[in-house]
Symmetry: C2
DNA sequence: CGCCCCTTTGATATTAATCAAGAACTGTGG
DNA sequence: CCACAGTTCTTGATTAATATCAAAGGGGCG
């Protein structure tokens, strides 16, 4: 009966298929509330876990509901966030359903970079994506091995350089093109 | 600035990847509001279309907001529905990302049957799923050809009989098992 | 009847998974 | 500082899953 707010670090929601295959459903950065749906749905059907060490805060559902009742703007922000989450989930379905491996991985990188940049967590051209390649596989529906080969290909093609999970974007236009990435679905507010 | 309520027929949300590959994101039956997110998000980034002839009703956002303000129970139902939608999207990501073709197709059938049954649109053991196999492919991230082979396999294995898009469930337990289907994510209210 | 759309089937090509092993890195304790 | 143990990354060889291409049947409908 509490919601979790990510304060720092990287978390994700996931589901298991047949107790063995993990699929990551969404990534959550500072400010996100991965289990917001717990407010309206009694029993959770998806897991939340940390991909890096994470610091979190808790807000009771009661408290959250109180805030929403007292401040309509807050309630609106909450539902808006829920809708954005849904929009991102939709893009992920398209990503795993209809994109090739290179496109999927590139898309994951584009999305992470764009979101982190919007949060001030990324530099103009480089950022830390602190997940393992196995995690990236679980996010894109690929095997860890294939993620590795795909990353190698992206590096060779010169759009990206990676050292110790720090990613440097060498050619954003081409990376975006590899990924078929259009940030509209993130519904970021026009550059503040 | 209107929301659409499905009154009858089958609709879906979808996205295109590179203008050529379609991915269906969700199915919508009578009572659903496929574009509810338009309430909080100004520009839609996903399409809605009919898979069968559909009758719809329109409600203006203003009206909807008025109803929500006047009747907290209604507002709650709305957000609850949005959360359930999100939960279903999550299961679809897992379906497309981590399941084999048979599992995906079987899962689509299990979900459709369960949802239609909950709405009184399906018989105890048979129902109409009025989408083409190409549509099923777009919903599961498979080619129409492979959907066909998979359906053939399901029919041969004796869990299902299909005539003219009318599906008869011959062995629900086994079908559910083929699909790795657990209806928890649908958050249906305990049998009324 | 004829046409169009959908389904079915076969042959082949492509994509990505799996298996296996070795290299590089991370952090740990001596 | 170094040896080490445990991950993670990388690479190769092989297999499995699914796409694509092509063409032939069916069914409904004007």
């Amino acid at each position: 009966s509490d919601c979790t707010v990510i304060v720092s670090g990287l978390a994700c929601r996931y589901k298991f298929v047949r107790e063995s295959r993990r699929q990551i459903l969404s990534l959550h950065f500072a400010g996100d509330i991965p289990d917001l749906d717990g407010l309206a749905l009694p029993k959770a059907d998806q897991g939340v876990c940390a991909l890096t060490p994470v610091t979190v805060a808790s807000i009771s559902h009661a408290h959250l509901r109180g805030l929403a009742a007292a401040h309509p703007t807050f309630a609106e922000a909450l539902t808006r966030q829920a809708m954005v989450d849904g929009s991102i989930l939709g893009e992920w379905i398209a990503n795993v359903g209809r994109r090739f491996a290179v496109e999927r991985v590139a898309h994951l990188i584009c999305e992470s970079f764009t979101r982190m940049r919007a949060l001030g967590l990324a530099d103009a051209d480089s950022f830390d994506l602190p997940m393992t390649q196995a995690d990236m596989g679980d996010a894109t529906g690929l095997s860890n091995v294939h993620v590795n080969r795909t990353m190698t290909a992206l590096k060779k093609s010169g759009v990206l350089a990676v050292t110790r999970r720090s990613h440097r974007i060498l050619d954003w236009a081409r990376l975006r093109d590899h990924a078929d990435f259009n940030p509209a679905y993130l519904h970021l507010l026009p550059a503040a």
